[in-house]
């Protein structure tokens, strides 16, 4: 491009200032990248939730159980195709820092309910044939360097004692954001071994509706069916359930948006000021360009291009830094399994940087465009 020398050379007029401005973009976009990753990690359940799945929990709280007898009654409600259930086990593997979710699942119904988790058939059969069998996510296997056949002791916290499991299957996620840090085992094993209090109780149901557009009605009908019983229910779409679960950690979305907005507004002021100074300093040069025959629009574009170039360089640096930092995956060892800067977020961040670049450069660019050549050439 024949004008590249004009654009690039301006950046080297005040090298330190340029580096600092690029640096401020880099820091802002680095922060944007990290905040987006944290937000994504908290909302991972929301993003991957099935549109046709509802979650039925105890109306009092998710930690209160529901009777297993509800399964048949749920299946009788019009619009419900499938029902499965699971329990939160809450055990500790070796150390409390090694957190991951363990679920006692209903073997017959859990796998078809979550087709996004893929397990080879032979491994699933091996799991079904072993009372102490477990199926674990690929990320978990990688994290603890497990392999098929390993015996894993888990110390119960809700359910007392040490529970030994044999890894019989490893599941993968169909999508990159699918959670592959779970640990599944037989509900029957839990029921058989646990004390009588827990017999016939499960943690929550997941049901599949025949028509997702009918979800609201089905959810209402489920809750009405079990109203005024000792185990009243609260039914939500899986997405809403995941969102309310994420909100338990506080309004992360609002927090992240607030921080992001403040950072970008500050960046806008810093860059706008820098570009205004840069234009003021070379009023004469811009006047010469106009005298030589460059149009007002060219001068406007030149200043905007400089501003966008700074934004692009800083944005790329910051996002690259965020990507590098998140390559290692979840730094919390299980609390945020989906710790990943997606290409879509990267593109969003880069676009945002360019928009800030344009907005910040607009006023200085307009003042450069409207520069009076005669007056500008008189200035010393």
């Amino acid at each position: 491009m024949k004008y590249s020398a004009l654009i690039f050379s301006s950046l080297f007029r005040k090298k330190i200032r340029t580096v600092l401005t690029i640096g401020s973009f880099a820091v802002a976009l680095f922060l944007f990248g990290l905040l987006a990753v944290v937000r994504g990690a908290f909302n991972q359940g929301v993003d991957v939730a099935g549109a046709d799945r509802l979650v039925v929990i105890n109306k009092v709280s998710i930690i209160q159980p529901l009777p297993i007898a509800y399964k048949e009654r749920l299946l009788r409600i019009p619009g419900i195709k499938e029902v499965t259930h699971a329990n939160w086990f809450g055990g500790v593997y070796q150390d409390e820092r090694n957190f991951f979710g363990q679920f006692a699942i209903d073997d017959a119904t859990y796998r078809p309910m979550f087709p996004e988790f893929v397990i080879p058939d032979d491994q699933w059969t091996a799991y079904l044939n072993d009372r102490e069998g477990a199926v674990v996510g690929a990320d978990l296997v990688k994290r603890f360097k497990w392999k098929l056949g390993d015996r894993i002791p888990i110390k119960g916290t809700i359910f007392q004692g040490t529970w030994d499991f044999n890894i019989r299957g490893i599941y993968q996620g169909k999508r990159v954001q699918d959670d592959t840090t779970q640990f599944w085992f037989h509900y029957k094993y839990l029921e058989e071994r646990e004390n009588p209090f827990w017999k016939g109780l499960i943690g929550w149901y997941t049901v599949r509706v025949a028509n997702p557009d009918d979800s609201a009605r089905v959810a209402r009908q489920i809750d009405e069916t079990f109203a005024n019983s000792p185990w009243e229910t609260k039914t939500d779409t899986e997405k809403a359930f995941a969102a309310s679960f994420a909100k338990q950690a506080g309004n992360i979305q609002f927090l992240i948006l607030s921080i992001g907005a403040v950072v970008f507004f500050t960046l806008l002021l810093v860059t706008g000021n820098t570009m205004a100074i840069a234009v003021r300093e070379r009023v004469r040069d811009l006047a010469v360009l106009k005298a030589v025959g460059f149009s007002d629009v060219f001068v406007l574009t030149l200043v905007l291009a400089e501003s966008m170039l700074i934004a692009a360089l800083g944005g790329a640096l910051g996002l690259a830094g965020a990507k590098l930092l998140t390559l290692g995956g979840d730094p919390t060892h299980g609390m945020l399994p989906f710790f990943y800067l997606s290409p879509a977020t990267t593109v969003q961040g880069f676009g945002l940087a360019l928009i800030v670049g344009v907005v910040a450069g607009l006023l200085p660019a307009l003042s450069a465009m409207n520069l009076n050549v005669v007056d500008a050439l008189r200035r010393v």
Binding site: L6, S9, F12, V288, A291, S295, D296, V374
Partner: protein
């Protein structure tokens, strides 16, 4: 043939009629140029002298399409420029005018080559063609070996030569030189005037030069004097007083 009486024929390269320029400063009207007439033929070398504030630079700005007159017309190579829109005037400048400034006005972050290349960026020339044109212009001003130096690495005289190369590289219709030796020592000033002289004699350029320097003005074919907004052939009363 240079005339200031408005009697030139239609073949003049530059034809100015009844040129007026007024500025308003506060409540006061300042009449900088008053009904100027001027005819300059192609290949003429005209020097304009006059005391500070006499309107020399204003006249040059008007002739170069950087400013618009309050009244009157300027016609250059058959184009009347006084009624052109801002963007048309910009295009016209690119095609017809080469400016040489007192303070050189080179862009400090560009090399001499890049500074000289600037007017060519507005043309459809290829990169190779632009390079060739720049090399020729730099050779004409005797600085081909300094093409990749930055302005800060050049002396004042050399900077002004680069300024002249920038002014001639696109082969404009005429050169407007505003005190091109005003910031130089005698020796450098003489070298610059030699160069301008050569551009007129050997390359047939038309040059309109504003200067305070009588030695520089002597090189011109015709010296015109501007005083209180009025153009004279020969020395004006104010200039004589200044000379004494």
């Amino acid at each position: 043939m240079v005339r200031v009486d408005g009697g030139g024929n239609g073949s003049s390269l530059v034809r100015v009629r009844g040129l007026d320029k007024k500025y308003r400063r506060g409540s006061e009207d300042i009449h900088v140029l008053q009904g100027l007439n001027l005819d300059v033929d192609a290949g003429d070398f005209v020097a304009f002298m006059g005391p500070s504030g006499s309107g020399k630079t204003t006249m040059l700005n008007l002739l170069g399409g950087l400013d618009l007159p309050t009244a009157g017309t300027i016609t250059v190579a058959g184009d009347e420029i006084t009624h052109l829109s801002g963007s048309k005037l910009t295009q016209w400048r690119a095609r017809h005018v080469g400016f040489v400034f007192q303070m050189y006005n080179l862009i400090p972050v560009l090399t001499a080559f890049q500074n000289v290349e600037l007017p060519l960026l507005l043309t459809k020339l290829s990169k190779a063609e632009r390079r060739k044109h720049v090399e020729i212009a730099m050779e004409v001003v005797g600085l081909k070996d300094r093409m990749h130096h930055y302005p800060r690495q050049l002396s004042g005289g050399q900077e002004q030569r680069v300024g002249i190369a920038r002014a001639i590289v696109a082969d404009p219709t005429f050169l407007l030189c505003d005190e091109p030796t005003g910031d130089l020592d005698r020796k450098s000033a003489d070298e610059i005037m030699d160069l301008i002289d050569r551009l007129v004699r050997e390359h047939g350029k038309t040059v309109l030069l504003v200067t305070h320097d009588p030695v520089a003005a002597e090189r011109a074919h015709v010296v015109l004097h501007l005083n209180k907004g009025v153009l004279f052939e020969g020395q004006a009363a104010g200039d004589k007083a200044g000379a004494r």
